[in-house]
Structures are given as structure tokens and as C-alpha cells.
Symmetry: C2
Subunit: 292 residues, 2 copies
DNA sequence: CCCTTCCATAGGGGATGCCTATCGCGATCA
DNA sequence: TGATCGCGATAGGCATCCCCTATGGAAGGG
């Protein structure tokens, strides 16, 4: 059974005429006759009763017609759906991002993407960089905005560096600035009780690692919150925190950002996806917007 | 798009493995690879992400898979349905028959046919021979048991003579036999008031024609009924009627059948179908049982 | 570092689809 | 009744396609 044969069969069934069906399908009449005959041979039954001037479906033809129509319609649908995916009229991107990116650069980028491709569904997964890498590997995410460097346990990922953020110490404007108002180094944080993110945030590992490298263990007054909660605790004067500079700009009043001098803390945000599977078309387009 | 390509596509999607899919489809691996590639070329999109040891569907592949499955299932269904028609496991016969045949030979034949092919729907159209011929021509009936000879207006029909019935004069046992108990000829009916069928019954034309040939116009006490009604009127003594011998045997008590001597009236029952269109398989089978 | 696994590519041979030309058969009409 | 027309079937040639075997090439595993 061939698609072409079904097309010809439906054409003859609808025109009740071999010659006119051949014209409609832009094919020579003998070709069409042959294909109908081949189909009849394969099915083992005549499909048309060829009475002179009155081509009619046999019962086998009647049985085949609705199925043939549905098969051809499904084939058209398949072609159409794939085209819509290609043309980004439909589709889905599952994007992971760290909280700071979500509140920082992402809204504007997603707005631009959605305007360009309103048919594409955008699913954002907010989480710590390590979680996101794991979810990329599991195939739950198409793309993720993660923090470099990748952990050693990371699967083969293709990464593109997007930006490097300086980390600053954020504190409440209600309290005196940390370090007494002068320059601030990591070592100065030894004296400052801190508000710390939950496990999974790369900022936690980064900060704790920097403190230990400076020779002390940081002291937490509160720990375990997400980004917004941590900033709220800082604003309430529970302690200081180390966050990306970009976050403070969006965090509203009541907070003070103090840069770190000496060996500045920074982190690099990169766009990552699995190396072994090409991301879907829509994800590639989002990557193009993010990187370009 | 080819059925074969969809088969291969589904096989790869299910095995996640080109080589094993090729084995499953009993085809060389390069052939399968080529067909998948051809399908991808036609659709303009990759269907699989060919990561080493981890073949996965792309989004285009995901979109295609359910449609491909349905298309292949429909194709199987089409083949199956046609086979069931061929094997008489399903189907329909629209059979026309005159009332006398319906009450006479038909029940036994239909019982045998239904036992042999319980999946075949039997639609019986009871009517006068002329009506049946018209309905054959219109394609409303597949087969009909009609009375020969065919009228001149008949379309091209293929007929097979089944049996020749003698016509008898039926009368009420409550009354003296027509013709005074001796032999009975058509001419004797000149004195007998008759009960006559409605127009359309070939028996009407046959009887009236015979009377006229004998030189008189028959007199009707009642006219217009179907077979059962006519027999009822005769039983009630309203007159005599000319009916097939076979009918009297099934008509119950109270009736007397008197054969016609001299030039006996008879009629020939034949099975007819259109010459220009082959009857459906199930109808041909019923014909085989009727004729054989 | 070699070997295995697995998909892609190359090239040849048989099958298949489409073409033009022609036949056969009813129907129509003079 | 014979010529013509309409329409589907058949015949034969040509291009294409599909499948085959052989081989390439890249990614893991021992």
C-alpha cells in the first residue's frame, strides 16, 4: 500500500471517473489505472465496479474510503505539525535559571522571545546551578543558565559564557556599613554574621569557599532561604549576604551594596545544554537570542 | 512520505537503535538509515538526535510519532476490513423477492446462508417483480428473485432460472369447488368472481393476460391486496384467485387448490442482478447457494 | 592502543512508477 | 448499420527508487 495509491483511489472515488481523476492528480490516466490495479491486487479485492460510464465503489471500496481519507489527512497533519515546529509557530522551551538570573536579565529576554514567537511555550525552572545541571542531564530541561565552572560531576555540556557578575556584600541601610565604611575584603566578613542561602545555591558554595580560603568559617544567623527571603532578612538587619551586584538593583530600597576589594568575588553565568543531543528548534532560537 | 519510511521511523523510535530496528524490520541497516534520512529530508527536520548510544526523538520526531502510529494502524485496519469482507465475515446482502418466494423457498435458504455466514447482514425487500427489477437498476438491491420473462423496460440484468411453478386456482373450502368439481381451465374462470392482487404483482398481469387470451375480462370482487390479504379474502369466500402452488401449502387450512388443465399457467422464478456491476462478495455467495 | 560497536556513505542491480502509444469495447449518432 | 467518440486497459521504454554488500569513521571499552 502506497500513499500515492490512496491518493489516486480517493480521486477516483470522488470523481467516479478514471480520466478526470488522472487530470486532477496531474498524472497520465494509465499510471493511475495501474496504481489502482496494484492496490486492488494487494488488497485482493476490486475497489471499483467499472461499469461503462458509471464507476462505482464496491463494498471493499466503501470500506477503504474513509480509512484512506483519514490516512491522507493524518499525513498532511504530520507535515503541517513539523513545519509549524520548524517555523517556531509552535513548540516549547524548558529553560532553567538561577534565581538571580530570573530576576535580573531573564524577564526582558523572555519578553523579546515571546513577542517574536508567541506560539512557543516557555517553561522556566528556577533553581540552584547544581540542580539545573542535573536536570539538563536528565533531559528535563532543554537549556539552562548556570554558573561556571561546572562541577566535576557534570555530564558533557556545551556552555557559552554570557556575563560575569561581581558579587557584593549587601547589608541593611539601618545599620552601620560592614567593615566600618572603608574598603571591604573577604577577611572582614569574619566579624559579620551572615544570612545564608539554602543548600543547592552556588552562591552558598562560592561564599563559604571564599571564607574558608581566607581562613575562617562563616557564621550564619539565618540560613536556608531563597533569594528573596535572604534579601528580606538582610533588610531586617539579621546579617549581611554575598549576592550578585545585579540583584541589589532590583531588590528595592533599604539595602546597601558594598563591593569587595582585594580578591574580588565574581561568578560567570553561562548558557548550557547537553552536547550529545541537539536542543529543539525553539530552544536553539532562544539560545540565539541569549547569546547574540 | 512512504509507509515503509513510517514503519522504519516507528521501529527506530521504539528500539532507540538503528541496527536493532533494522533487524526487527528484516532489512539491512543502511537501507533503514537511508529511508529515515529521506523522510527527514522531505519533512525538512531531523527526527532523531543521533547521540552515540542514545538515539532520541527530536521535537519533530515526537510530533510525528503518534501520527505515524495512527497511520500505520489505519492501514492495517483497512487491510483487515477488506479481508473480512472477502472472507464473508462481514458484509450485507440486499435481496429482493416476491411475496410468494418470501414465504416459500426463501426462509430455508436464508437460514442456511446465515448459519454459514453469521456476520453477513441480510436485508430482504418484499415486492412485486416489476418493482424489484426497478430497484435492482437503481442499485438499491444487490440481488432479486424475480419472475421471468423480464419486462421490455428492464435494464441489462443477468438472470438464472431457479424453478418453474405451476399456478393453481385457490378457493374456499366452504364453497363448492370452481368448475363444479371437474377439471378446470382458464375459460372456466369466466364464471368465477376473483380476488385480485394490487398493481405491481406479476401474478396480476399473468392472470389478467391469460383471461384475455381466453377471450374474456376477469371480474374482481376485491382487488389491491398483498398475498396474505388475497388468501384471506379467498378463505372468506369473496372469490377465487390464481396463485403459485407453493403458496397454498404454506397458507394454512380453509383453502382448496385446483390445478389448471388445458394450457396450464406457470411462472418461472429467476435470480437476477445487474450485468454491468459485479455484485458484492456476499451477494455472490448467496447466489451460489441459491443456484447451486 | 587496539578492538568493538554503531551509524553513515558508496556503488551496483533489480523493481517500480510514470510516460506515450495503442487497443478494446460500449454508446451515440447519422 | 456503420462511423465516431469516450473511456479504461494494455504494452513497452525510461528514469527513479529501494535494497543490497562493502566500507568509512567516530566513540567508548579493555
Amino acid at each position: 500500500m502506497q500513499f500515492q495509491q490512496l491518493v489516486y483511489f480517493v480521486a477516483v472515488a470522488e470523481t467516479r471517473h478514471f480520466t478526470r481523476a488522472a487530470e486532477r492528480e496531474h498524472v497520465a490516466q494509465p499510471s493511475l489505472s495501474q496504481q489502482i490495479k496494484a492496490l486492488e491486487r494487494e488488497l485482493g479485492a476490486e475497489l471499483f465496479s467499472r461499469a461503462r460510464g458509471n464507476i462505482a465503489l464496491t463494498d471493499a471500496g466503501e470500506a477503504l474510503l474513509p480509512l484512506a481519507r483519514r490516512i491522507l489527512a493524518d499525513a498532511d497533519t504530520a507535515r503541517l505539525e513539523v513545519q509549524e515546529l520548524l517555523q517556531l509557530r509552535r513548540g516549547r522551551v524548558r529553560l532553567g535559571a538561577t534565581p538571580s538570573v530570573c530576576t535580573g536579565m531573564l524577564p526582558e529576554v523572555l519578553r523579546a522571545f515571546h513577542t517574536a514567537h508567541p506560539g512557543i511555550e516557555l517553561l522556566i525552572e528556577e533553581g540552584g546551578s547544581l540542580d539545573l545541571v542535573r536536570e539538563l542531564a536528565r533531559g528535563v530541561l532543554d537549556l539552562a543558565l548556570i554558573v561556571l565552572p561546572l562541577p566535576p560531576s557534570a555530564p558533557p555540556l556545551t556552555t557559552v559564557e554570557l556575563l560575569t557578575e561581581d558579587l557584593v556584600v549587601v547589608s541593611s541601610r539601618e545599620l552601620p556599613p560592614p567593615g566600618g565604611g572603608g574598603e571591604l575584603t573577604i577577611a572582614d566578613l569574619r566579624e559579620e554574621p551572615m544570612v545564608m542561602f539554602r543548600h543547592g545555591y552556588d552562591l552558598r558554595d562560592l561564599t563559604v569557599g571564599a571564607c574558608r580560603a581566607a581562613g575562617f568559617e562563616p557564621v550564619f544567623t539565618v540560613e536556608g532561604g531563597e533569594m528573596d527571603a535572604v534579601l528580606g532578612f538582610v533588610r531586617a538587619g539579621l546579617g549581611v549576604a554575598v549576592v550578585p551586584e545585579m540583584v541589589v538593583a532590583h531588590a528595592g530600597p533599604g539595602l546597601r551594596a558594598t563591593p569587595l576589594t582585594g580578591s574580588p568575588l565574581r561568578r560567570t553565568i553561562a548558557l548550557a545544554h547537553r552536547t550529545d543531543v541537539a536542543p529543539p528548534r525553539a530552544a536553539r532560537e532562544l539560545k540565539r537570542i541569549l547569546v547574540g
